[in-house]
Symmetry: C2
Subunit: 198 residues, 2 copies
């Protein structure tokens, strides 16, 4: 055990996700020995995010204003909504430059074990958008894992009754990957989703 | 790219050691979504460490006062000094409960490639202690790697001229380890340092 303040810092750092006891100790000593101005910038960055960053009132993405940059951008196509789990996924899709519509961030995926049901996600907000906005297509881009699939299935079933076309991102072999290393579920999906080349 | 404040936080977190771009993003979103009070405690812990924690005037260990808890502890044997590279090593040795003397923290190890020579380490401070204090044994506990060994060799050579007994922690097979998985240098050391059982 270290003397008070150092141990307290190690404890606080150890509460962060993915930071084990060893990393917490290493980070604490880095902070201890680091330049004071660098650490002031870190502290300011944390404080600013907590004070200033909110979630977009329309799509739930991170935003420094009432709405996020994408929802405010009039050049984006308002008739397409891409539904994702987290704000991080918005960035991932934006990086592809293949989508010019808007987003809806659910804030997670259905996970009964963790106690996350449809009511804990921003699904009601999505439904409200469908009545207010002119939507032509909803693209479901939840993660290709158990929770993401469950969420996608739930959304598809719910949206079908409203009559708006719903699509889901393709599953298959990752580009640049090796067929022999693909797991059987992915390879199975790649077969199911095979496309005509002729 | 995220909007200003979030991206700034990701950048600052990414400057911490062992935090790559993905971890920085994950940490930033954790901070964003975390309870405000938890984050205040983290910020306070960082600020407190930067403001209050200093290095012990005697041994160089972390300390909240002029000297550290170990140097102030009168029950510790002042005639033995265990020389380590970092404050972290003090904790590691303390955990063994097999040493009741005092420490001297060098602040690193000799590493010519990184530009760390004897002058960058707290070696002069160690020599000063030898003239002031009644020392019967110096135990060198630098890391068992290239830099630690170089530092140990340097210290042994220097301390020999002063005539104080110097010892070095034993190298050998780690307890609970597997002989067949030991690297050849460790196994070689274990042979060199073999002890009579009869």
């Amino acid at each position: 055990m270290y003397e008070g303040a150092v141990q307290e810092l190690i404890d606080e750092l150890g509460r962060l996700p993915g930071v084990g006891p060893k990393s917490a100790q290493r980070l604490a000593f880095h902070i201890l020995e680091a330049d004071g101005d660098d650490m002031k910038r870190l502290v300011n960055a944390i404080t600013t995010v907590k004070e200033r960053v909110k979630f977009c009132a329309i799509c739930g993405n991170v935003a420094e204003q009432e709405t996020c940059g994408i929802c405010r951008d009039t050049r984006r196509d308002p008739s397409m909504i891409c539904v994702v789990e987290e704000s991080k996924d918005v960035i991932a899709v934006e990086r592809t430059r293949s989508f010019r519509g808007r987003y809806h961030v659910l804030g997670g995926a259905i996970n009964p074990i963790a106690g996350v049901g449809p009511d804990q996600l921003r699904i009601r907000e999505l439904l409200n958008r469908l009545t207010d906005e002119q939507i032509k297509e909803i693209i479901i881009a939840t993660d290709p894992n158990l929770e993401g699939e469950a969420t996608a299935t739930y959304l598809v079933r719910m949206l079908k009754t409203i009559g708006i076309p719903v699509t889901r991102l393709a599953s298959g072999l990752p580009v640049g990957g090796d067929l022999e290393y693909a797991d059987e579920v992915t390879l199975g999906r790649a077969f199911e989703g095979r496309r005509s080349m002729s």
